[in-house]
Assembly symmetry: C2
Homo-oligomer: 146 residues x 2
DNA sequence: AGTGATACTGATACTCGTTATCAACTTTGT
DNA sequence: ACAAAGTTGATAACGAGTATCAGTATCACT
């Protein structure tokens, strides 16, 4: 893994980029790029979709945001929380929340020695019914579709 | 009814569907829907994209294939191996291989009790440099592709 | 300040993966 | 054979994301 202590990249923190960053930082859910775009328009009216997409890519490339594939739809989701964490996705309503759950170091070492890969990180998503959706699907109620 | 012991869904195993299934089963990589389509055309010329997409969704819905989000691009990838397994994705060449790595049951119980979610499954992808790409990027050796 | 170089923006058009539609076709049960 | 239902492939449509490009803002330097 590369160690980059400071980001001296040759790019500017423009108002548009700051707005995108603020949307990400204040988001508790995990918005798609399209959703980020919608929200950014409030604080930065007139901003174009291209700028939002470009900025998201820039932030991800500089480690200031994470790009997630939570496996529900097709679109990537973004997360301003760059600290190591995993995700919990409701299979019914699609809500995604952060969760802390370190994988045992032995497991990683095991994989390294078994496969020869130089692991840099891992993505972990748990799927299941959130408490709200469990309540909504109470025991004596059948699933209506498969 | 007789041909599918576990799944009694009301659908036929048509030649097209069988072809898609065979492509998935014989694939060692993890093809996208578009790639599946390309390969299926060999054994089932004339098949349309809609049929492939429909069939993939059908297979996934019936537990005969897995839909993966390996986080590289945008498109889902498909896997005929429905047994529980995880994935190892090379950050350089993008190759995705299967890997076996059970998560400790305690971890799952911990999450269940901590969050109230009724966990159904989890997705785990490890990312890193595969041995080949490591060799290609050895310290004093430059990339020389041609 | 003035000036030129360069990064950045936003509108637009475009690509391309995926889905909806629908008439024709195939299979099943009677 | 016939009707009902499922399936297919061509086509059109959709939508997320990207490329392009002229205009604008900012920087480095004098």
């Amino acid at each position: 893994m590369l160690d980059t202590p400071t980001f001296e990249a040759d790019w500017r923190l423009t108002p548009q980029r700051r707005a995108v960053l603020e949307v990400l930082e204040s988001a508790t859910d995990h918005p798609t790029a399209a959703e980020v775009f919608e929200r950014v328009r409030v604080s930065a009216p007139g901003i174009g979709p291209a700028t939002v997409y470009r900025t998201l890519a820039l932030l991800v490339a500089n480690g200031m945001a994470l790009e997630l594939s939570l496996g529900e739809g097709s679109s990537s989701r973004y997360d301003g929380n760059t600290a190591r964490h995993d995700h919990l996705v409701c299979t019914s309503c699609g809500a995604a929340s952060d969760i802390q759950s370190a994988l045992p170091g032995e497991l990683l070492e095991q994989i390294t020695s078994r496969t020869g890969y130089a692991l840099s990180h891992y993505d972990l998503q748990f799927h299941g019914l959130c408490p709200e959706c469990q309540a909504r699907r109470s025991p004596h109620q059948e699933e209506m579709n498969g």
